[in-house]
């Protein structure tokens, strides 16, 4: 269901202002969404003045600087810092992306940082992705083959292997799914771009023998056809993939396949 306004307990209040203490002349204001589960209060946006002279180039570096030097209570997920693990996915400057690959120089004015949109917040910038993981599980993202012998490789031509390019690189950071308005309103039923891209990845894999069953599974009005090519997913993907195109290909396959 479309619900434009946030529920009462989610309305964002004005937070604490942390004034710069370094005396630096190169200051940027960073506004960060905060919510502490132990207080029972509404979420708030804290503002930090950060000394940019001693800060590396990415948004994650700013967050690390805030946590290390200004406010150690700030909570956010991060791990590899190289755009490979997908942990630091968040909403920066109104667009989803990985904090570790997003240069803060690309952002004009104040830097606004929010958790991934339309998720239940666990704390500060950490959203609850368990719903998405359940949906991912539902498409059975593993190879299903009728081949009896398990000791030999299943060969694939170069052309068939090429079909997986643009699909296998997905790191499941959830930037795309949580950027999608259709997923916001129908996230309980609509699978969302991330999961549909993975569904596509297994459907086009020449080594998989359950193509038809997989196609039948996603052939549902709400599971697949909530995509209205808003293109937020593709424009958000930090790996440069195109989930919207994969969804279009799935729709095309469903029209042409003899199910």
């Amino acid at each position: 269901m479309v619900q434009i306004n946030l529920p009462k307990n989610s309305e964002v209040k004005k937070g604490i202002f942390y004034k710069d203490k370094t005396g630096s002349k190169n200051i940027r204001k960073v506004n960060v969404y905060r919510w502490d589960p132990s207080t029972g209060e509404n979420p708030r946006v804290d503002s930090y003045e950060v000394d940019m002279d001693n800060c590396p180039s990415k948004v994650l570096d700013i967050l690390n600087k805030i946590k290390n030097e200004i406010d150690p209570t700030l909570a956010y997920r991060r791990s590899c810092a190289h755009g490979v693990c997908g942990s630091c996915a968040m909403n920066m400057d109104g667009k989803n992306g990985l904090a570790c690959t997003k240069p803060h120089a690309e952002i004009d004015g104040d830097i606004n940082i929010y958790p991934l949109p339309h998720l239940k917040v666990k704390r500060d910038l950490i959203g609850d992705l368990s719903g998405l993981y359940k949906q991912y599980e539902s498409i059975e993202p593993w190879l299903k083959t009728n081949q009896k012998v398990e000791t030999t490789e299943i060969l694939q031509t170069k052309e068939d292997r090429l079909k997986l390019d643009g699909a296998y690189e997905c790191i499941m950071c959830a930037c795309c799914s949580t950027s999608c308005p259709s997923y916001w309103w129908n996230g309980d039923k609509y699978l969302g771009p991330a999961v549909l891209l993975q569904a596509y990845r297994w459907i086009v894999d020449s080594r998989d023998d359950e193509r038809k069953e997989r196609l039948k599974k996603v052939a549902d009005e709400l599971k697949l056809y909530r995509c209205h090519t808003i293109m937020n997913c593709t424009s958000a993907c930090p790996k440069g993939l195109n989930p919207a195109k994969a969804i279009a290909e799935l729709k095309k396959m469903l029209v042409t396949a003899n199910l």
């Binding site: 589960p37 109104g94 606004n112 958790p115 949109p117 339309h118 239940k120 808003i230 424009s235």
Partner: protein, 127 residues
């Protein structure tokens, strides 16, 4: 998971771009067009009701407010048609690159304004 946890901001903070604007406008113009068709039905109905009924509708449609509505509807029909053409191409699997969606989106927006002006001038007997 505790259901009392807050919901993170979504449409309040998410940045708009050409494709999302075209997508939402496609929906809105679709709804507007249904209302527009009803209006056209009333117009035709007034023909059946005789001269006085038709004159009344004509008076309304020729007022500044009526003209404003007709120009808006011309735009919404133009937009819907162009945007639908864009969707048809996308349904064939083409035009999903970010740059292409931006260009086709801009074409829809400026094309609809162009057609509105064109129809206005046609109606005025400009050509």
């Amino acid at each position: 998971m505790d259901n009392n946890n807050p919901l993170s901001p979504h449409i309040q903070v998410y940045r708009w771009h050409i494709s999302s604007l075209v997508s939402i406008s496609h929906r809105i113009t679709g709804i507007v067009n249904i209302v527009a068709i009803t209006l056209i039905c009333f117009w035709i109905l007034s023909l059946l009701l005789g001269e006085s009924g038709y004159d009344l509708t004509k008076l309304f449609l020729q007022s500044i407010f009526g003209k404003f509505i007709i120009i808006c509807l011309t735009w919404s029909f133009s937009f819907q048609t162009l945007s639908e053409a864009r969707h048809l191409v996308m349904d064939l699997g083409y035009g999903f690159e970010l740059k292409t969606t931006k260009i086709t989106g801009l074409l829809v927006i400026f094309g609809s304004i162009f057609f509105t002006i064109l129809f206005y001038l046609l109606g005025k007997g400009f050509f």
